[in-house]
């Protein structure tokens, strides 16, 4: 069984390493300082289980998990993060509160060994990741992966969002990025007074709009500062009018 530890504090990693010595069947194959290294190591080495810290440089543990297509089983470790702890409790995920004892650590390992391997981890984690994406830390940025590189997009840099099959295309001044989430997700997460669903497949950052022109029958087109023309449906037009106070 292959194990990876992802934590930015060396001593926090060393205690997990120490406890792992008592489980010879578990083979520690890598230790990572942050989420970037984590993503890389997981993809290259395909571990069976990772120990994942929440508060880490640049991207937190949850954001890192979102970037991985088929994440391995996870045991979260955190010292104190009210938001994450609440999410863990309501989604029955195993987590270790630092500092944890060897007993508690061993329990987490036994529990992991007994888990049902037929359900993909991605599905098991989905509700948890959905609930933490509302956390204050994640509300003002979106983390995406682009040809192996990780980018962090501040929310205010987003011009508009466009649905594209199972993805959402995030349009910014530096181009468009794909994120494997639904429009519904963004509608829930983004500030409703800033981003308006103007169409089944579009959401616009209202501070980017320069004008709104009529277009065919009852539809409209929103012209953005960037010059982009974004469709506005009949009901989308009503939404827009409400938020703009027209």
């Amino acid at each position: 069984m292959k194990i990876i530890i992802i934590d930015d504090e060396p001593l926090a990693r060393s205690i997990i390493r120490e406890y792992l010595q008592f489980h010879p069947e578990l083979n520690l194959i890598a230790e990572c300082n942050d989420g970037f290294e984590g993503v890389k190591a997981i993809q290259q080495q395909q571990p069976d289980l990772i120990f994942l810290d929440i508060q880490m440089p640049k991207i937190n543990g949850f954001e890192m998990l979102e970037l991985i297509e088929e994440p391995p089983a996870v045991i979260f470790t955190t010292a104190f993060d009210e938001y994450a702890m609440k999410a863990f409790e309501s989604h029955a995920v195993d987590y270790l509160l630092k500092p944890f004892s060897r007993d508690r650590f061993d329990k987490a390992i036994s529990k992991w060994k007994l888990t049902d391997r037929t359900i993909p981890v991605k599905e098991q984690l989905a509700p948890l990741l959905e609930s933490v994406s509302n956390s204050p830390a994640e509300q003002n940025r979106v983390v995406i992966k682009l040809s192996g590189k990780i980018r962090i997009i501040p929310i205010e840099d987003i011009h508009y969002l466009e649905a594209a099959d199972d993805y959402v295309k995030i349009h910014t001044k530096e181009g468009a990025f794909l994120k494997n989430k639904t429009m519904g997700h963004f509608e829930k997460v983004l500030n409703k007074n800033q981003f308006v669903r103007t169409h089944r497949s579009y959401m616009i950052n209202i501070s980017e709009i320069t004008r709104i022109d009529p277009y065919e029958k009852e539809n409209h087109l929103a012209i953005l500062k960037s010059g982009a023309r974004v469709p506005v449906s009949k009901s989308g037009y009503l939404n827009l009018k409400m938020v703009l106070g027209l």
């Binding site: 001593l11 440089p57 630092k98 500092p99």
Partner: protein, 329 residues
């Protein structure tokens, strides 16, 4: 006095005037002190002026009747008949003057007591405000701890296995640090020297936690070390710098702290590296900086004491601490 002159003006002998004057004025004085005492113990909130009018009328009637009674007793000879008639005739005037005098005394005493009450209220309000301020400050300080504390304990737990000497050392540092934060009384300003000592303890602990990623430099001038500051004022700022320095970049981080006196101000400059691409929207909204701003506002009623700026991947926080009334110990 006035009373006596008036009586003499009407052509009555000196004896009459003096006795009448003494009796009437004594009675007035008695009535006045009575009314002042009544008002001290009972002052209605509603219909205050009706109550005063009522009291004044009762007392002036009593003064006039009593003075007449006493005068009748003293001047019982037939020769005094003429004067008693004058007293009877002047009943209304006497009543009116008594009413005015008693009314004045009543109003003055009411004003006096209300003002006293007001002062008491003000004092109470001040005390309450002070208490809530202290409670707020206490809360602000408490919020700083848990994440740091649990992570430090976790580091100690790890060190116990690999390096027991260092583990014990860290327990001592952590205990010393916690003791200083708990002991500090908000009212009791401390020397910058002490503040820096506890800050250094904190930084030592953080360095153990983050290993080689974190280094710090501290520059200080002699004068500033003797100046007084509110306890734990720098802590959140440095915490903020570490948080953004360490969590916004993945490289090694150096935090620069400099402390110096500038005229009457104590200036503290804290610098940390940051990544402008990802960090900018989050700066300044950190809990740490807000709590420092809030504390300085509560202490000095000024909002301009904390400045922040960012340039060339370095985030700078400047804190200005004005002079305390008891400047030196």
């Amino acid at each position: 006095m006035l009373h006596i002159i008036l009586v003499m003006y009407y052509g009555y002998p000196y004896k009459y005037a003096l006795l009448d004057g003494i009796i009437t004025n004594a009675l007035l004085m008695a009535a006045g002190s009575l009314i002042i005492n009544i008002l001290r113990f009972y002052l209605p909130y509603r219909d205050r002026y009706g109550y005063l009018l009522f009291l004044s009328i009762i007392f002036s009637v009593a003064v006039v009747s009593l003075s007449k009674f006493y005068l009748n007793m003293i001047f019982s000879q037939p020769a005094d008949k003429d004067y008693l008639l004058f007293v009877s005739n002047s009943n209304w005037i006497r009543g009116g003057i008594s009413f005015l005098l008693i009314g004045c005394m009543a109003i003055i005493s009411v004003l006096w007591y209300t003002q006293e009450e007001e002062q008491e209220n003000r004092q109470r309000k001040n005390d309450a405000e002070k208490m809530s301020k202290e409670a707020e400050l206490f809360k602000l300080r408490q919020q700083l701890q848990p994440h740091f504390l649990f992570n430090s304990l976790n580091s100690i737990s790890a060190l116990i296995g690999s390096d027991p000497v260092q583990a014990r050392n860290m327990i001592h540092q952590l205990s010393d640090f916690l003791r200083t934060t708990l002991r500090k009384d908000e009212e009791q300003w401390i020397k910058m020297e002490e503040e820096l000592e506890s800050l250094e303890l904190y930084l030592e602990i953080e360095k153990v936690r983050f290993g080689h990623r974190l280094s710090t430099t501290i520059m200080k001038d002699e004068k500033s070390l003797q100046m007084l500051v509110p306890p734990m004022i720098l802590q959140p700022v440095v915490e903020n710098a570490i948080k953004f320095g360490l969590y916004d970049t993945t490289e090694a981080v150096t935090i620069n702290i400099s402390v110096f006196a500038e005229n009457d101000l104590l200036k503290v400059i804290v610098q940390n590296p940051f990544d402008p691409e990802t960090a900018s929207p989050r700066h300044g909204t950190g809990f740490g900086l807000n709590s420092v701003k809030r504390r300085l506002y509560l202490l000095f009623a000024r909002t301009d004491l904390v400045e922040t700026s960012s340039k060339d991947h370095v985030f700078t926080t400047i804190i200005n601490i004005p002079k305390h009334e008891n400047y030196y110990h």
